[in-house]
């Protein structure tokens, strides 16, 4: 469940740009697609939801937690356990293998190491053969799929995806979107995708346009 109320954000260095976001209300398992052109604050909204940016005005509730009220330490912990982030560009720990990246994600979010979950996930995403490869040895599509794996491995309450498809061709775009939907269903999570990619639009009923 995600709820935001009168959320605003102002970047300190550019005072004229005051971002105002519409209220969001998602009941559990509901998905949301946020569409908008570049520079309208899509990523800012996502980072506010993830607790990566401090909230100036407005309120964010995830589940029963009021994000504004959390201390730094609590926020770190909450983020690690309840939020899965998937980025446009894939970020990994380059010195580790695919499997090790997943392990470290589990470890740092303090969730239990679940071997079955890992293997199931790798199978779903078709990364079983790449398990022991270094991350930079993967292809673009494989990297994006690993990104998804890292975003959902710990069964977060909400999955936040930032332009997950913009670098992919049509086929991979289809695959990624369906995988995201499938994993969100498995984890019983809210899926929030922000994108300017119109190809994603038909897959979701719930749209917000910024």
């Amino acid at each position: 469940m995600i709820r935001t109320a009168s959320l605003r954000y102002a970047y300190k260095h550019s005072e004229d740009q005051n971002l105002v976001f519409p209220d969001i209300h998602l009941s559990s398992k509901e998905s949301l697609l946020i569409l908008g052109a570049s520079g309208v604050g899509k990523t800012t909204l996502l980072h506010l939801l993830a607790g990566l940016l401090p909230i100036d005005t407005g309120d964010v509730y995830i589940g029963n937690t009021h994000i504004n009220r959390l201390t730094r330490g609590e926020l770190n912990h909450f983020r690690g356990q309840n939020i899965g982030l998937i980025f446009q560009k894939s970020y990994f720990i380059k010195s580790l293998s695919v499997l090790e990246n997943l392990l470290i994600r589990e470890k740092f979010s303090k969730s239990k190491s679940d071997r079955y979950r890992r293997e199931e996930l790798l199978m779903h995403l078709g990364l079983c053969d790449q398990m022991h490869k270094k991350v930079y040895q993967l292809s673009e599509g494989q990297q994006q799929r690993l990104s998804i794996a890292l975003g959902v491995i710990h069964k977060p309450k909400i999955i936040l995806a930032d332009e997950p498809t913009s670098n992919l061709d049509d086929i991979n775009c289809e695959i990624v979107v369906s995988l995201l939907k499938k994993e969100a269903k498995i984890c019983n999570s809210n899926l929030v995708i922000i994108t300017h990619d119109q190809r994603v639009k038909p897959h979701f009923n719930n749209h917000i346009i910024l």
Binding site: T44, G73, G80, F87
Partner: protein, 463 residues
């Protein structure tokens, strides 16, 4: 966390190797110097503490101490045994040991002395017995091992203190009666016999030397070093071999005669042409030096003044001379210490650069870790762990290489009888390793400061 730090380190081998190498170099240099200094001091101390004074011929007191106690320099000359003994015949004297040398066997010095010498150095027999009469000798453990000498074997000494083989006393071979246990002192590198053996060998060699006295003088200025003397003598002897043949025969006969009846020695007035050491040899009993231990320090000072002012000999106090020596060496040690400090500085700088660069390069990774729920503090810990690991690896290897260097040094300096040991790190070294850790700490701190300002949102948004 530890595993991640380790993985990060080895994923950038070049950077890591450079920093580690620099640190290793600095640490090994420093441990090497510390060890050499320590062991050298121990060695000097251990070998000189048994005697308070060395009485020998005039010359450099340092040279006298080095030659008589440590056996690494040439002697200053010879002194009269009786005269020296007279000086040392005081109640303040605890014990005294005359030593005499000038010969070697395969580079190992043959020392003529009394049994007291062995007693003072606490040398014990491993096999065989002590020497009882002339031309019997006991050998130090190192000597026995290096040139494979066994009890009952015989060997011919050669003249001088360095291995030359030009002049050997084949007619008068030594018999080995015993082998000593390792003592960790210079005894291990000596062949020890009684005083008489040295005198008897030299009576012969001085006669021979005399033959070519005139020729020798043309070739060379009056020389202080016996062995050099004798090399030229042998050469010139070959040149003028025929001219001297008759004379030589004559003198050898005389020499044999003198052995039968020592009183006839004085008849050899030709010996007056020699420099004093050779001349005295045939008139009186001579020794190279007399080692004395006093009952109290006052005796040392009184006797030292008396000998230096009222006699033709000099008294050197080992403690002072060794102090002087270590001050000389200290300058060198300090220079190398300085170099290793500079390298240490560069090494910590390189670690600093390494850490800063790794933080910059991995900004996104670190931001990603933040989204995984770890705190800024944990990120700093990660960076610290990397720096610490780097330092630890270098410290361990640096220390090992330092010790290896010391060991190699001891192998090459075998001739001097420096026996270096491979021990555990001592307190000084632990301090030094801690110092290294401490110097890398600020590097890690400054580098991790940027982590506090890490703007996760911005870094991840700037894809």
């Amino acid at each position: 966390m530890l595993y991640l730090a380790y993985k990060n380190l080895i994923s950038k081998p070049l950077n890591t190797v450079l920093s580690v190498l620099l640190l290793i170099l600095s640490i090994s240099l420093a441990t090497f110097i510390l060890q050499v200094k320590k062991q050298l001091n121990e060695h000097l101390e251990g070998n000189t503490k048994h005697f308070d004074m060395v009485i020998g011929a005039k010359g450099s007191p340092l040279q006298l101490v080095l030659s008589s106690l440590l056996h690494i320099d040439n002697p200053t000359g010879n002194i009269d045994l009786e005269e020296a003994m007279k000086i040392a015949k005081k109640p303040m004297v605890k014990y005294k040991v005359p030593v005499s040398y000038g010969d070697n066997y395969k580079g190992y010095r043959i020392l003529g002395t009394t049994h007291k010498y062995l007693e003072v150095y606490k040398a014990q027999l491993q096999r065989g017995r002590l020497y009882e009469k002339s031309f019997e000798a006991v050998v130090g453990s190192q000597v026995a091992e290096q040139i494979n000498l066994k009890v009952g074997k015989t060997f011919a000494s050669s003249h001088g203190l360095a291995e030359s083989g030009l002049e050997t006393h084949k007619e008068k071979p030594f018999v080995i009666t015993g082998i000593l246990k390792p003592t960790g002192t210079i005894i291990d590198n000596l062949i020890i016999t009684n005083l008489e053996s040295i005198w008897e060998v030299h009576e012969h060699s001085y006669d021979e030397g005399h033959e070519n006295q005139e020729v020798h003088q043309k070739h060379q200025d009056p020389v202080k070093k016996e062995n050099f003397n004798l090399i030229t003598e042998t050469q010139s002897h070959e040149d003028d071999g025929h001219a001297h043949e008759n004379k030589e025969y004559h003198l050898v006969e005389e020499h044999n005669h003198s052995q039968d009846d020592p009183k006839h020695k004085e008849e050899h007035d030709h010996s007056k042409e020699h420099d004093h050491s050779e001349r005295d040899d045939e008139e009186k009993k001579e020794i190279t030096s007399l080692l004395v231990k006093f009952r109290n320090p006052i005796g040392v000072l009184q006797t030292s003044r008396f000998v230096n002012e009222k006699s033709t000999m000099q008294a050197a106090i080992p403690k002072f001379e060794i102090d002087r020596l270590t001050t000389f060496l200290g300058v060198g040690f300090q220079a190398i210490n300085g170099i290793s400090l500079v390298i240490l500085f560069i090494a910590s700088l390189s670690i600093f650069i390494n850490v800063v660069r790794s933080v910059r390069e991995r900004k996104q990774e670190l931001a990603l870790l933040r989204t995984y729920g770890i705190s800024t503090f944990q990120l700093i810990k990660l960076v610290f762990l990397e720096a610490l690991m780097l330092t630890l690896i270098s410290a361990i290897f640096g220390w090992l290489f330092g010790r290896l260097g010391v060991w190699l040094f001891s192998v090459f300096s075998d001739a001097y009888g420096y026996d270096f040991q491979f021990g555990m790190p001592n307190r000084e070294e632990v301090y030094m390793l801690l110092l290294v850790m401490v110097t890398t700490l600020p590097a890690a701190i400054i580098a991790s400061l940027s982590l506090l300002k890490l703007n996760v949102s911005k870094i991840l948004a700037d894809a």
